[in-house]
């Protein structure tokens, strides 16, 4: 076998330029795929990170019926005990206890349906960094009562600005329609299209009197230190408070899950496209190599090299090409992805469009070890499959005719 390896290895260098072209094609192909997948990963990651950090958090806790019927009366059971637990849980980075009411908002010129978040100022800032998203105004500063934060989109819709008076209308705990006047203190621009579309923030202490009670909690959003803690934490909370609806970010936002799936699908599609192109290149190259060496292959069969060995030799030559090109491509991809992962890709020229879909404007490509492995494995597998036809052609040669060629 070592002699067969030696022959196969030396054979690929008989036509140096042709082999180098194939190796370069493999390397550049893998490098390009690595960069594309790395970029897709960064987009997906940016979307998911924005959703977690500015919208859903890692976990949300509700009354079991609240998500289907978001009525005021469906308050989270055991909210105080849960809050006490979350305060001392080392896995929890921050949490925000909220009132959540569907209602109407109206300015003197327009009105719209909204989701009213009654929040604790500090908790919300720590959990969703809402304070950092303000474009104008301040984050519930001063002692002024009935301040409200609205999104830029909502402000445009209501033709409202800072200090504009807005009226919120909703049902209280008894089912009565109540209304309260609020003054715009800040205008935010969230990476979450959902929040930009229809969320307004007020302080709990301003909302509770209108609801007629200060004992309600509709939602607790929990931000953890690491994504890996999501499932264990959810399991723990579910086992201790079975009457509470505990949802992870993936369950809360199917689009995030879809995003991850899309990212995987994109990688698969890109890989398949590259591999098909690569397969044609390899089949072409190896067929040429076989046709050029018909006489030699015929001689090998004549002196007693069996067809299985001839087949293995052609297969090995192809695998060698892939094994040289594959790691070079991986290194190329690794270097490019690592460099861009550090410096970032600035797409601020498309800020508006990207933010509309919940993306950041700076992307940091990255690849997981699994993705590197997949790329190399796909290249080797493609090389083996592509070599089957030329190898088959080689073993179908008739030694006498081949030597006459």
């Amino acid at each position: 076998m070592p002699m067969l390896l030696l022959i196969a290895w030396r054979n690929i260098w008989r036509n140096r330029i042709r082999s180098l072209v194939v190796i370069a094609a493999i390397a550049v192909g893998i490098g390009a795929i690595a960069l594309s997948v790395g970029f897709m990963n960064s987009m997906s990651d940016s979307f998911i990170r924005n959703s977690i950090n500015h919208d859903y958090s890692h976990l949300q806790l509700h009354h079991p019926r609240f998500r289907q019927e978001p009525e005021v009366r469906f308050s989270l059971p055991h909210a105080n005990r849960i809050v006490a637990y979350l305060r001392q849980d080392p896995a929890v980075k921050a949490f925000s206890r909220r009132l959540l009411i569907n209602g109407m908002i109206a300015s003197s010129r327009a009105s719209a349906g909204v989701q009213i978040y009654g929040i604790n100022r500090e908790q919300e800032a720590a959990t969703t960094s809402l304070d950092s998203l303000l474009e104008e105004g301040t984050y519930f500063t001063g002692k002024s009562r009935n301040a409200i934060l609205i999104s830029r989109k909502m402000a445009d819709k209501l033709k409202a600005g800072l200090r504009t008076k807005l009226v919120l209308t909703f049902q209280d705990v008894e089912g009565n329609v109540v209304a309260g006047a609020f003054r715009v203190q800040g205008i935010f621009d969230s990476p979450s299209p959902r929040l930009n579309e229809g969320a307004v923030y007020v302080r709990q202490q301003d909302l509770s009197p209108l609801l007629g009670t200060d004992t309600l909690t509709h939602e607790i959003a929990v931000l953890l230190h690491a994504n890996t803690q999501v499932l264990p934490e959810a399991r723990y909370l579910r086992s201790h408070w079975p009457m509470v609806d505990v949802k992870t970010w993936e369950e809360l936002s199917p689009e995030l899950d879809l995003m991850q799936e899309q990212s995987g699908l994109t990688m698969t599609i890109l890989l398949v496209i590259l591999m098909v192109a690569l397969a044609f290149g390899i089949v072409n190259t190896m067929l040429m190599a076989v046709l050029e060496r018909e006489r030699e292959l015929g001689m090998l069969m004549a002196i007693g090299m069996n067809r299985q060995r001839i087949f293995s030799m052609i297969l090995l030559e192809t695998i060698f090409l892939a094994l040289v090109g594959g790691p070079i491509g991986c290194l190329l991809g690794y270097a490019t992805v690592t460099w861009l992962g550090n410096t970032g890709i600035d797409l601020s020229a498309w800020t508006k469009g990207l933010q509309q879909y919940g993306y950041s404007t700076q992307f940091y490509p990255f690849l997981t070890p699994r993705e590197y492995f997949l790329m190399v494995a796909s290249v080797v597998l493609t090389a083996i499959l592509s070599a089957l036809y030329p190898s088959y052609k080689a073993i179908r040669l008739n030694p006498v005719e081949a030597m006459r060629s």
């Binding site: 002699m3 030699e296 001689m299 004549a302 002196i303 007693g304």
Partner: protein
């Protein structure tokens, strides 16, 4: 008492690839004994190469029988024929046909590797054979670094490496200059005398015919003369 190495009876080969079938061999009966130095001669198209291909297990006869060292080649399938060639026959081709990416030593070793001979024995025999063909100092040269005559000597060493029952040499001197051809023939004749290696040549070359102890002449696929020199 020398044994019969090759025996054919009624060996016929008809090529049907063209519209008009071509009768390459028309009933050849032949016996070749161990240690012979035989030349098969005849004009182009007389059937020399076809006969050698069938004797070498590279082709099947259309009719007739061929027996080599007790093996009936007609009964062997393609796979068995490859193994048979490896174990029993040495080939020397007109165009040398060495493996260009291997050195002289590796070319000679290669056939023994296919026979699964242990590395140490392989290396020793390759070195010894190359010494015998006068290439002791060119063992690590690749074919492109050797002259035509030297390449053909490597081919002879390779053919001998597998310890075959006989060596089939198809026009071995056709591509060589006069001096190289003479040296090569001399070397093969010595091996035949010393080691009793059986050589069968297909040739047009008068020098080979002169050196051969038996000359079989073919015409239109039939043996028209079979002369053994005294």
């Amino acid at each position: 008492m020398p044994e019969v190495v090759i025996r054919t009876s009624g060996l016929t080969k008809v090529y049907k690839e063209t519209k008009v079938p071509v009768n390459a061999l028309g009933g050849v009966d032949l016996e070749i004994m161990e240690g012979e130095f035989t030349a098969v001669v005849g004009p182009s198209g007389s059937g020399k190469s076809t006969l050698l291909h069938i004797l070498g297990g590279l082709d099947y006869p259309t009719a007739g029988h061929v027996e080599v060292g007790g093996h009936h080649l007609n009964e062997l399938n393609d796979r068995q024929l490859i193994d048979f060639r490896l174990e029993h026959i040495g080939f020397v081709f007109q165009a040398y046909n060495l493996i260009p990416v291997l050195t002289a030593r590796e070319n000679v070793e290669f056939i023994m590797l296919l026979q699964k001979i242990p590395a140490r024995e392989r290396e020793a025999r390759a070195a010894q054979l190359l010494q015998e063909v006068g290439l002791g100092d060119r063992m690590d040269n690749r074919p492109t670094e050797l002259s035509g005559g030297q390449q053909q000597r490597v081919a002879v060493a390779r053919a001998l490496a597998s310890r075959p029952q006989f060596i089939l040499a198809d026009e071995p001197t056709a591509n060589l200059d006069s001096k190289s051809a003479g040296n090569l023939l001399q070397m093969m004749a010595e091996m035949n005398r010393r080691e009793k290696v059986t050589f069968i040549f297909s040739t047009h070359d008068q020098r080979v015919i002169e050196k051969a102890r038996r000359v079989i002449t073919l015409e239109d696929g039939k043996i028209v003369s079979d002369v053994t020199k005294a």
